[in-house]
Amino acid sequence: MTEVKTAPTDSRLNRAAGSTASYVDERTSIGAFTKFIARKIFPDHWSFMLGEIALYSFVVLLLSGVILTAFFVPSMDIVEYEGEFAQLKGLEMSRAFESTVHMSFEVPGGLLMRQIHHWAALIFTASIVTHMARIFFTGAFRKPRELNWLVGFTLMILSLAAGFTGYSLPDDVLSGNGLRIIDGVIKSIPLAGSYISYGLFGGEFPGEALIPRMFTAHILLIPALILGLIALHLFLVFLHKHTQYPGGGRTDKNVVGLPLFPVYMAKAGGFFFVVFGVIALLAAVFQINPVWNYGPYDPSPVSAGTQPDWYMLFIDGALRIMPGNFEYVIGGFTLSLNVLIPAVVLPGLFFGVLALYPWIEAWATGDRGEKHVLDRPRNAPTRTALGVALITFYVVLVLEGSNDIVASLFSLSINDLTLMFRITVIVLPILAFIIAKRLAMGLQRKDRELVLHGHETGRIVRFDNGEYIEVHEPLTEQERWVRVSYDALKPRELAPELNDRGVRRKGYRWDRFKAAWSRFYFEDRVEPVTPAELKAAEEHHAHELESGKKAAPEDPAIHP
């Protein structure tokens, strides 16, 4: 299709490359596509690379996972340990555990691969959460990207599933206890719980079916879904074009940045190795999940410091924080609200709100326009405050999930700590909401101040009449653009309840709810500086300086 242009230097290599390219292109027409991709414009900002961390750590997970698959035996058959590790000699264990210990101690590089895989999993989940927080706080989920937010949310849930199934595969005491908790959580679901548990474990816990089943999910089902959704996620990024931070000349109708090739290709390629390098560094220096310490799974022992990996810790925390006296027996059936509420209802609500957030916010804004310019977090104070409150809530649950570690580290009473977290889990998010909202609005006022009066220069000038002023330097065009180009949305107007014939109109209640929700979001707001205000301020400054100049015309220090 496209003709290969003559290479700048007609070397042998260039000729070979050119003819290979045209061979492929003549059979696939891929040239046009490559050109389209290579010229795609992307705006530049460090925070746009957070999603890349997730992508690259996933590649590391695939690479190291393939090697682990070669040595792991997903079987719950019992064998006697005869390997090199003295502390386990002669112990009975499942093949899954035995093969994990074998690959750790007897396969060259096996332990490093296991540690790379596990650290990469922690970084994978952490980077997804960080990326999600960036999307949230900058409003990148608004129209037209709501569906892509949902795809990303599903990827986050899948990463938790991938992490949890992988963590449980070695069949050690630590992960076995985690599975036992999951089993209990499933059984707390009224009516269906015990049937789901029996189906999942193939009988009474732990059964002999779980490890092979989780293995299939961990190496086949979940990675395939993640791969497919990553493709969709990135396709939608290309389709929507990337969002950009506010700045001179950037609007909802353009993208200001550099083409993908060559700069971003080089940066992204290099960044892959940075991510891989940091993961390899962690894996080489720090031990992770030493299953030989925990020993093969046995339902009786539970050691101190039994916790899941960090991404499941908040559910553990919710279970620990819940008072234990909400268990009822009704007609011979047990209803364990003390497990159901913290481990099923609460995560359900938490994830539900996260998944639906783009629509929840849209109820308040009522805005149907496409948004390609990001919000600075301060310019959406209520959203920012909601995000901070949600994170605070999450962190309190994580701390409660580690309460025994926190207690022994700081010599505190674990009982007092739990009592304190029971209070703070409610109080702190509310406080965090108020503080974050006030901080955001304070920053907005600071922006107004800067736009109207300019930067302080620290130069104090005294006029002949004895008046002192500090000389302010006006903002550059770019600086001003960033600070004034946002919409301070107003609460939605509520149409009257009765129509002109005195009949109550359809959908009034829903509208009333949306109006109330909108007031919650936009009642307090700081308006951006209007051109009229800016002009007035400039005239005022000019006048001030003018009068000063009249008083001291020869003073060289005064410049507007």
């Binding site: 705006p43 530049d44 460090w46 690379m49 961390i53 003295a86 502390q87 386990l88 000699k89 002669g90 112990l91 750790s104 332990l111 540690q115 922690l122 970084i123 952490a126 980077s127 630590l174 200001v256 940045g257 960044f271 940075v274 940091v278 962690l282 894996a283 080489a284 220096v285 720090f286 031990q287 999940n289 030493p290 310490n293 925990y294 020993g295 046995d298 009786s300 022992p301 539970v302 050691s303 101190a304 410091g305 039994t306 916790q307 899941p308 990996d309 960090w310 810790l313 999930g401 580690s402 309460n403 025994d404 570690i405 207690a407 022994s408 010599s411 505190l412 009473s413 674990i414 009982n415």
Partner: protein, 260 residues
């Protein structure tokens, strides 16, 4: 003259002196440690000396005849020499202040004084005595059996490999890596503070030695790198966020510095 003066102020001199001092101290300490274990049958002199020490240091709480006081301190009749050797030898007694549990602080008495105190308390009534060197020799134990026993009996409080953990109301199970084999054995024998008693009927002396052998194995360093306190996934998650994400996000900022 000048060269001699220079030599007298050699740059490395303070360092060498420090090393010499350290070496001297270490040797002194090792000699002090390697005193032969006290004979189990205590002399009358030792008991008398022990009684004096007891009256001066312990009687305020435990009473002049070690009978104890309600709500303050337990009776010591029948606790045996092992309990005294553990409590005083690890610095838990004399207790500095009342709290959820006695803290292991610097040891207040020398080995001879501890033996005298133990002899006095042992003379009050029959109780477990201090184990001999063979009973606590890790080389004679089976670490694999020790691991199984540790997992079923100890790890719920002391952690999977003895890193310690929290108990209720501010009490805690300490880390066991710095504890001497003798003290570990005595703790199992007498069950200090919140710890249950593992007497010879429910855990044989051989089993106790196997546990010591398992714990000794933990001192050689962990396979796979730094163990992060062996407190499990919380520490791993913390490092993944602080160091892993910290480094990577640092890199993104660095790469993104030349923003368009």
């Amino acid at each position: 003259m000048r060269t001699v003066a220079l030599k007298r102020h050699h740059r490395a001199a303070p360092l060498i002196l420090m090393f010499a001092l350290l070496a001297g101290l270490t040797m002194a300490a090792s000699f002090a440690r390697s005193e032969p274990a006290q004979a189990t049958v205590a002399s009358e002199d030792a008991i008398q000396e022990g009684q004096k020490l007891f009256a001066a240091n312990c009687a305020t709480c435990h009473g002049l005849s070690a009978q104890g006081q309600d709500g303050v301190a337990p009776t010591l009749v029948g606790v045996g020499a092992a309990a005294v050797d553990f409590q005083v030898g690890t610095g838990r007694m004399p207790m500095q202040a009342s709290g959820p549990q006695a803290i292991a602080k610097d040891v207040q008495f020398n080995d001879k004084q501890i033996a005298q105190l133990a002899a006095y308390v042992a003379s009050l009534g029959p109780g477990p005595s201090v184990p001999d060197a063979e009973a606590v020799d890790a080389a004679l134990g089976d670490p694999a059996n020790g691991m199984q026993l540790f997992r079923t009996n100890c790890s719920m409080c002391h952690g999977s490999v003895g890193g310690g953990g929290a108990l209720s109301q501010g009490k805690y199970a300490p880390a066991l890596w710095a504890t001497t084999p003798t003290h570990i054995y005595e703790a199992m024998l007498v069950g200090p503070q919140s710890m249950p008693v593992f007497n010879d009927a429910n855990m044989t002396p051989e089993d106790k030695r196997d546990i010591i052998a398992f714990l000794e194995e933990q001192r050689d360093g962990a396979p796979g790198g730094l163990s992060l306190g062996t407190i499990g996934p919380v520490a791993e998650g913390l490092w993944a966020w602080l160091l892993g994400m910290g480094l990577i996000v640092g890199f993104t900022v660095w790469i993104g510095v030349r923003s368009s």
